[in-house]
Symmetry: C2
Subunit: 490 residues, 2 copies
């Protein structure tokens, strides 16, 4: 039996040509004119999966967009792993800022430049090639594998909830692995062990039926902007804590181990401040910056508006004012519970002549946290130690990824994010690139991970590890720079 390592080694030049072909397809999901290209990319992926040796390969529909499904289920008694990624890409504007045309892949200094190179075509092609290497050399995979690649990730996957719900039987799995992610640096690995949840609300303060003349009425009629700012200002106390009754009730206290692991992650505060453009950081007293983002919930005003906001002066008492708020949540807070606590607290305020209404918005996700000894987490850790020669950083992201909640809710499966690009690769920006040695590393990492999952799984009592929370890390948004990242995005 040939070794899958040799197979990968021998075929790298051909795999890079495959990647170039894939990158030539301008599968921009945000542009309706490129919908046929998104379909072409789906067809390319389906063909590549068949060539790799997967069975049951099929292009399905989610709204107007294609989804590619495939599986290999020849390992009875072994777990089923769902591998996820996306073949749609971001728009290319400003196209004049690119060194080479975005859909003419170019290799310079060991990097391949093209839109989608890192996010996510290179990263999602790696596991396909790993599957091929295993199938072509061993004739089988260590575990059962399903793959699901989507064509609407860059437009926030509007059709994915319905799609996953509709296909929950076909997609049934024990765990999911997302190929959409990145590592800490070329020499350091990153295993995200936590991710915050989110709930969203709109707060409306209603005053007089119409805007009033601020001269003729000012001083005698309550101004809804005043009421709203007073209400919002009262949400935080002097120590930065949220004052809403019950807000922290379900917050799990971090263990000493967790705090130690967070403290071990490199953090250059001056560099961080410079990148953000602020003179000082601020937050809840008693917690480090990384803890404030990783393990503490927030009440954040994302926007506020009321009255006249144009140039010059318009002397009105506004009729109403509105704030958009999101709360980031940590284990074991539930979005519905926190949203209701916020709504009850704000609506219960007695204000003369002002009515407060809080609308809970549908945007919500639960927080995630993986136990350190979860087999998928241990398997990923083992492979990263092998590949990087050192323990990965165990980071916690402050962001939220709805797809994690979706897979968990619909498939009862948790997702490990496992991508091998680096955070400086210009996702969503001109001159996006992927380092070819990480493209290669990703292929090996996926083969190793599947083998390691089998090993770890079979050491457990052969039952599904229900109620174990699994790790996720944030998607590579150009605007989403995790503080764990050693380099900022462009």
């Amino acid at each position: 039996m040939a070794d899958w390592r040799d197979y990968l080694e021998e075929r790298q030049a051909s795999f890079v040509e495959d990647l170039k072909d894939f990158l030539r397809i301008p599968s921009i999901s945000a542009d309706p004119a490129h919908l046929p290209d998104v379909d072409r990319a789906a067809a390319w992926v389906a063909a590549r999966l068949q060539a790799a040796g997967l069975a049951d390969v099929e292009v399905l529909r989610a709204g107007r967009y294609p989804m590619v499904y495939g599986d290999w289920l020849g390992a009875p008694g072994q777990p089923t792993v769902l591998i996820y990624g996306h073949f749609d890409v971001q728009p290319v504007d400003p196209v004049e800022a690119w060194t080479d045309p975005p859909f003419s892949p170019t290799i310079r200094d060991g990097r391949i430049y093209a839109r989608g190179a890192s996010d996510d075509k290179g990263n999602m092609l790696a596991p396909i090639l790993a599957l091929e290497a295993l199938l072509k050399t061993h004739g089988r995979l260590p575990v059962n594998v399903k793959v699901l690649f989507e064509g609407q990730e860059e437009i926030l996957s509007p059709d994915l909830p319905d799609f996953v719900a509709l296909h929950r039987t076909r997609l049934a799995c024990d765990m999911a692995i997302s190929a959409d992610g990145w590592q800490w640096s070329a020499t350091e690995a990153d295993l995200r062990v936590g991710l915050r949840g989110i709930c969203a609300l709109e707060v409306v303060a209603q005053g007089p039926a119409t805007d009033l003349h601020a001269g003729l009425y000012g001083g005698a009629v309550a101004n809804p902007v005043h009421a709203l700012v007073a209400l919002l200002a009262s949400i935080h106390d002097a120590s930065g804590r949220v004052t809403i009754p019950g807000f922290y009730d379900d917050v799990r206290a971090p263990s000493d181990d967790e705090r130690r692991r967070l403290a071990a992650i490199p953090f250059d505060e001056a560099r961080y401040r410079r990148a953000i453009g602020v003179s000082a950081l601020a937050g809840e007293v008693g917690f480090t910056t990384r803890e404030r983002i990783g393990i503490r919930p927030t009440f954040e005003i994302n926007g506020i508006t009321g009255g006249y906001t144009g140039p010059g002066v318009k002397t009105i008492i506004p009729s109403s004012a509105r704030a958009a708020v999101t709360c980031r949540l940590v284990p074991d807070q539930a979005p519905e519970t926190v949203a209701l606590a916020v709504k009850r607290h704000l609506e219960s305020q007695r204000l003369n002549g002002i009515e407060i209404t809080v609308n809970i918005l549908p945007n919500a996700a639960s927080p995630y946290l993986i136990p350190m000894d979860h087999p998928a987490n241990r398997a990923a850790r083992d492979v990263l130690v092998t590949l990087y020669g050192r323990e990965p950083y165990y980071t916690r992201s402050g962001g939220s990824i709805p797809i994690l909640d979706l897979f968990r809710r619909e498939l009862d499966a948790y997702t490990v994010i496992y991508g091998f690009g680096l955070p400086d690769e210009n996702f969503h920006a001109p001159d996006e690139f992927l380092r070819l040695d990480n493209f290669r590393r990703g292929q090996e990492a996926y083969a190793l991970l599947l083998e390691q999952i089998r090993l770890r799984w079979n050491r457990l009592i052969p039952s599904k590890p229900v109620n174990l929370l699994v790790d996720f890390c944030s998607r590579a948004f150009s605007s989403e720079v995790d503080i764990g990242s050693r380099e900022e995005n462009a």
Copy 2:
């Protein structure tokens, strides 16, 4: 010598025809297509002034708009009174809501319906007819009179400051009377004895250099909306008082007489609340609604904006937030002093990672207050008692009128507002009208006022009453309903 009363009596039918002619000119200053009509109205006024017997009648220019000046200066040793009004009118939209076409004056039930009937053509024609009656019967006026009628009042008189500064010698006077105003009701007169001043500021809270992802940074980076709402919420204490140091330093305590006079004005709180559409009133503890508006200063947020204010959710920490603020001022507060106190207070706050900048805007006016014994106030009061058979209400308006500050600053003259329409006459709305008996009453009132000013003036030591503050009342904006008004505007 014929009596001017007989003259007015005999010519009412002809005067109403004059008013109709005047009202047929669609002198809408806001519409460039009607600029020639504004010029036609100016020519009509100039001709009418000449027919009335004034000398030195001239059409001058203020920017693209005409101004009509005229005078009669044949009373040496007597004071000089400047009479002010405007011959431009509001637009007529929605024109389909008018019972008759807006520039086809129609008389029904003793009311003349047309755009500008009350605001301000009928009210400004009345003093011209009074001057004519006095000149044609007595051959002279009791005092020296200058008239200044403008054609850009409805677009907020952008060219008036430069015009008045340029013509300060020609416009020199001892006092001004504005024919743009109204009375309390058909049977009750209104003498406004105070008017608030104003200063305007913009407050900017600057946080991170760009909007940040609220998941990845939330909790560790100060949010400028949070900073702004905390700052603005701290401006009022629990009793509704402004907490800015020095804010009340120059506020003159009202006398018991003043408070008594304000308390004597009819006020139906339930009706007032209903008109505004609020369930309760609110304001500074220890003051009535009328006092809160008339004799107390305010800090009012006219608008606030920051971050994402569109539909749905965008999870950002906004880069900055902004509030538009105006303060209404009472004697003896100076706009510059208060604006500086606000700026210093807000900019002195220490906020981690947030920079507060306060920009003082040019929009400013000083507060006004007339001493009860000022001769012009006494003269107006005497005439109103004669005409209405009872003492007028002494009201204080919460609004501000820049022209009062302009006449005071440039001409060292104070203005009495003295119009005879009623506040229900649909200024700025469809079916504007003027009651013809008030048109008639205005003519008589102006003749009596000039006689009474001469009497009152000559009882004083014959020197100009410097440093006496004179009363003003608010212009008839459809959106500016003074709480003193018995009836709301349409």
